[in-house]
Amino acid sequence: MKKVDARGLSCPEPVIRAKNAMESGDKEYEILVDNVVAKENVSRFATHQGYQVQATEQGDDILLKLKK
């Protein structure tokens, strides 16, 4: 499964990294972010791309599991 570490990146880099990763066409991805705005932005984009998003908090970070 492809993993993207988007922690600490400014807007809109987390979404761009997620988007670039999605070009491989996999069914599942894990995107690690460290703030609510990145979580919202990546989730919104992934949802529009047809993924289901499950968010779990990991300490200060948030792990987004994307599934098609």
Binding site: G8, S10, C11, P12, I16, K19, N35, V36, V37, H48
Partner: protein, 360 residues
């Protein structure tokens, strides 16, 4: 997700309304909010530039930062972070300000100028969109200022705390703080402190919750076909326009004067209006948000954004100390040179930070 769009349209509506009302209560025309102008006025009040016409500690700025700070604390989103290329961000901030002062307004005021019928802002909008499009090319190529990291609470809290000091300086008005003399220029035109402060706090809260950003709207539409932020942008424009028409009808003084010549705090040089906002749009994309968004993030404890705001203030000081800022008469020769230098510097920053390979 539809809910999200509804919320930002509502927030944009309230913000447009507040912006129009601030002019009614005394702010300069088409300047209910202007982050560039207000930071410039505050910079002047501190004596960092000596343009006597534009010196005042703007309570809106204080309110925006404190509003964002309070609501982010309440929502547990106050997260001190920093360390992502601060000197680059400072430099970008300074040049964004120089671009804004060529045009005479930040992206927020550009919208408000459009809502007041100022046709010159259309040239600004064209340049702004072109600047954003240029920036997105680099974003797609992998532009990054690298990661930010967790910082101590105090580090994140210093900039918001500094706003309370600014409020005290405004209220106490000691002799070393400079205020534009009555009738002495735009710095003398302001709503009462409490009105401006509350307006700033409300807009700060709304902008923090909705992540409103003037460059983000066009950027996200281009990059991801995401239109949420653009909805906010349009909502401000429409509401401010409607409010201007209503205020004009109620007060008998027109708040909507379509045309190009003689617009308040604006000039008619289309090319330089466009180039100024090109620089601002390009620089803001590289910073990850417009000047308003930087203030909000600084309120949330983002010290990279706080450094950016300090860069904006330094840019304002340079702009007035070196004669770079435009006036109603038009741009200055120095200002044109500075904008060209700015575009080159921003392009170099964009290119160099797009070339590096991604770290592990």
């Amino acid at each position: 997700m539809k809910n999200e769009k509804g919320t930002i349209v509502l927030a944009g509506g309230v913000i447009g309304l507040i912006a129009a009302i601030l002019v009614f209560f005394g702010n300069p025309a088409n300047m209910g909010f202007c982050i560039a102008c207000f930071l410039r006025d505050t910079t002047g009040a501190l004596g960092l530039h000596s343009a006597a016409a534009v010196q005042y500690i703007r309570p809106e700025i204080i309110g925006l930062v404190l509003g964002a700070c309070i609501i982010s604390l309440a929502k547990k989103e106050f997260r001190p972070r920093g360390g992502s290329a601060p000197v680059t961000r400072f430099t970008l901030g300074a040049f964004v300000m120089i671009g804004c002062l060529m045009f005479l307004g930040c992206p927020f005021r550009m919208i408000l100028r459009l809502a007041g019928g100022d046709g010159n802002a259309l040239f600004g909008l064209v340049g702004f969109v072109a600047g954003i499009l240029t920036g997105t090319v680099f974003l797609k190529k992998g532009y990054t200022l690298k990661r930010s990291y967790k910082m101590p609470k105090l580090e994140g809290g210093i900039y918001p705390a500094f706003q309370i000091v600014m409020l005290l300086l405004l209220v106490v008005a000691p002799a070393f703080i400079h205020f534009t003399e009555p009738e002495g220029g735009p710095g003398a035109k302001h709503a009462a402190i409490i009105i401006a402060l509350v307006a700033g706090i409300i807009v700060g809260i709304l902008a923090q919750r909705t992540r409103l950003c003037m460059v983000g709207g066009i950027r996200d539409a281009v990059l991801f076909k995401e239109y949420k932020l653009l909805f906010g942008f349009v909502a401000i424009l429409v509401t401010a326009l409607v409010m201007n028409l209503i205020l004009g009808a109620v007060t008998g003084t027109s708040y909507f004067n379509p045309g190009f010549a003689g617009q308040p705090i604006a000039h008619t040089d289309g090319l330089w209006n466009a180039l100024g906002m090109y620089l601002a749009g390009f620089g803001c994309i590289l910073l990850g948000g417009c000047p308003l968004r930087q203030l909000i993030l600084a309120g949330e404890g983002n010290t990279d954004s706080a450094v950016t705001v300090l860069g904006l203030m330094a840019g304002a000081a340079f702009a007035h100390n070196f004669g770079l800022a435009s006036s109603g008469e038009g741009p200055t020769a120095n200002g044109k040179i500075a904008v060209i230098i700015g575009i080159v510097v921003v392009a170099v920053i964009a290119a160099v930070n797009s070339m590096r390979k991604e770290e592990a």
